[in-house]
Symmetry: C2
Subunit: 425 residues, 2 copies
């Protein structure tokens, strides 16, 4: 994979230039993307390189994949839907303006599923094209995993960052809710939609976001001896397959072995309830947010999305309000958990990427943490017997993004080359 | 003024039709708007009437002015800026889809100041064209005050609903934060931007929003004997002029006379601090939200906006985070105040609409409540010696919008025809 830190260090040492680094990303896309289907729109090579020559800033030389529900004024933004085929926004999304201002380059628009919901798109998993890359940030995860760009931007409403990161074996970082502006991204659910990042490692993601936002988020050393880790198997542990269960046990074992204190956490009933409330909030808001598309272009929606919007439009305001109350309680309850914990270890996904492209997999282990807004990182390193990545997830208290990233980076180092499930295929 | 309730009752009784009601609004716009400058884009009359013939729903017959920072697919949306002159969005904003789905008609786009900030536009005050209508929802307030439409939609980031409502002498209702979706409205500050409504009375606004959202928000009788009203003069009472001070005393007197219990509230230091934090949050977020416009079209921005964006871009993330902490404390503190109060009475504005069009007036009495997210209603009825409206504001606990509207409706009835400031001009 391309690495943000490697590229930036090489530029700093004068071993390469921003132009050459971006050219390498663009050339890799040109060579590899026909087989991956990660990109839906690309800039003209000459223009992109000329813009890089004129770029200054702490991210000069970094080519970024941008999920296609995020507006770009100079590239079409199709929202993963035929309704918006060829659509040209009048302006850039806030995060796109920001990355350009920092010297980074939009290397292309990455495939999003339809309005970032569950209908699969055509991107394949770089580890095995017979498997889904996950969704909805399918192209962003695959573009990083295939080594085409060092970083890509996605969004998560259910599990759309952590899940594809886990399936594609890359670092996926979902920041604390509203740390990163989503102005100019197509809204599905304003209470849940969260920008996120894919990179080769947690340290790469952290370096990128630090330089993007001006916040001190670079990973720092973790003192294992003082780290309190909660193993959070959830009340839906039965939905985790043998690979995922083994991956959680392995991660726990390695952290204990390195000196961390582990605490078994039983899921509080308020958090189990919040997992259910997620769908009510999501679908109610999507019914309003996509009102125009439903009213004017119903026949161009997938069945699965149309059905979700119809469910959402049938939810009464008081049921929505009740779900929001459940969410508020869940945020308090999660805050309480972190009084005696530094990070929580929990599955990223139910298992490795499912075979086939007919589903993007299940967000069931993600949606609670989208609702609570805590920072989450998919930790890569473990593969199953078939060589497919099996992700585990670390999360930290709301606002403690640097700790989540630092602990994830440390756990990555403990899990490098790890394998689970000898009998699996 | 045109009244939502009068129109809906007449349609229900068969005394008029939705088509005739909408035609009356459109005809009044055609007759009056040249002198007011409230509208920036109008639908074709025949098409609008044909659409009304096909409309069904609880708001059929209601013509709605829509602030020009809110997307409409069939009318240009200029955001009050030459950068977006003639811009045609690809879809309707969520609230526009919703009002059309309920049978209401978009009667036109109402003038917004530049990106809903402080640079004045050309709309005049219907009570005296030599005075500002206030901003940033200038056209929406004036359109209702001039009797051109029964209801208009605006937004408030500082004081952009309550202030123009007060200056124009109409009911202005700023709902609890995020009660109404803002998907498809141009973002200035995602932590502050709030949709709001202008109507002839609080009861009209309540009837409209009830039918729009399906929430029970219609005004209901208030029992004065059990109503606990806090008079909240704020720590910036010296910025209220004699008219505003007299209006607050008069409103308090009338409520006491009718049986309510009044409690004098000294502004808690945490709330005075939050008034300052408002600008930090607003400008930091605007610097990101309008990044594209600043980077690509700096010369087309007004001086006052460009300066605010530059201030915002210079704010460090930790100063922004500190301001958000102040805001969180202010929300808790406001909740605490409402443990022993039902509603708060406080100025809507520093005084009646200033003379001239060189300023839209001061949002200083509004921005705290935009930050806390409480429901607010501008209560009309009082005029000064020059016949200009002087508004007072009632607010209720977060989520208790129906109480805010009901108490405002009751106070309206107590203030009908009231006058302050015999010596003023």
């Amino acid at each position: 994979m391309q690495s943000v830190l490697t590229i930036l260090n090489a530029i700093e040492r004068g071993e390469t230039t921003p132009r050459a680094a971006v050219a390498q990303s663009l050339d890799t896309i040109a060579a590899k993307d026909a087989a991956m289907g990660a990109f839906v729109a690309l800039p003209e090579r000459d223009k992109a390189l000329a813009a890089t020559d004129g770029a200054a800033g702490p991210l000069a030389g970094i080519a970024v994949g941008v999920k296609d529900i995020i507006d770009t004024y100079d590239l079409p933004t199709g929202h993963g839907s035929p309704i918006y085929a060829g659509h040209r926004p009048a302006s850039d999304a806030a995060i796109v303006s920001l990355l350009r201002a920092r010297g980074a380059m939009v290397a292309g628009k990455t495939v999003a599923t339809e309005f970032a919901y569950l209908q699969p798109a055509a991107t394949v998993n770089p580890h095995d094209p017979g498997h889904t890359p996950g969704g909805s940030s399918s192209g962003s995860a695959a573009a990083v995993a295939a080594g085409m760009v060092p970083v890509a931007i996605g969004t998560q409403t259910g599990g759309s960052v952590i899940r594809p990161a886990a399936y594609c074996g890359v670092a996926g970082y979902k920041p604390s809710f509203r740390l990163i502006p989503l102005v100019g991204a197509k809204t599905f659910s304003w209470s849940l939609d969260t920008a996120g990042f894919f990179a080769a490692t947690a340290a790469d993601a952290a370096a990128f976001v630090s330089r993007l936002t001006g916040r001190p988020l670079e990973v720092e050393p973790v003192d294992p001896g003082s780290l309190r880790v909660g193993i959070y198997r959830t009340s839906i542990w039965d939905q985790a397959d043998a690979d995922t269960r083994a991956a959680i046990e392995l991660a726990a074992e390695r952290m204990t072995g390195a000196g961390a204190t582990l605490v078994e956490i039983d899921e509080p009933p308020a958090l189990a309830a919040a997992r259910e409330a997620h769908s009510t909030i999501q679908n109610f808001e999507a019914g309003l947010a996509l009102g125009f598309e439903y009213d004017h272009h119903r026949d161009m929606l997938s069945d699965i999305l149309r059905s979700a919007l119809e469910q959402g439009r049938a939810i009464a305001p008081d049921a929505y309000d009740a779900a929001r109350s459940v969410a508020r309680r869940a945020r308090h309850e999660t805050g309480d958990l972190f009084r005696s914990l530094d990070v929580i270890l929990t599955p990223s996904v139910t298992g490795a990427a499912p075979r086939g492209l007919s589903s993007t997999g299940s967000p069931v282990f993600n949606k609670l943490w989208t609702l609570t807004g805590n920072p989450c990182v998919n930790v890569l390193g473990i593969v199953n017997a078939a060589g497919m990545p099996v992700g585990v997830q670390l999360l930290a208290r709301f606002g403690r993004d640097r700790l989540a990233l630092s602990a994830a980076s440390w756990l990555e180092s403990l899990l490098a080359g790890a394998e689970v499930g000898a009998q699996k295929s």
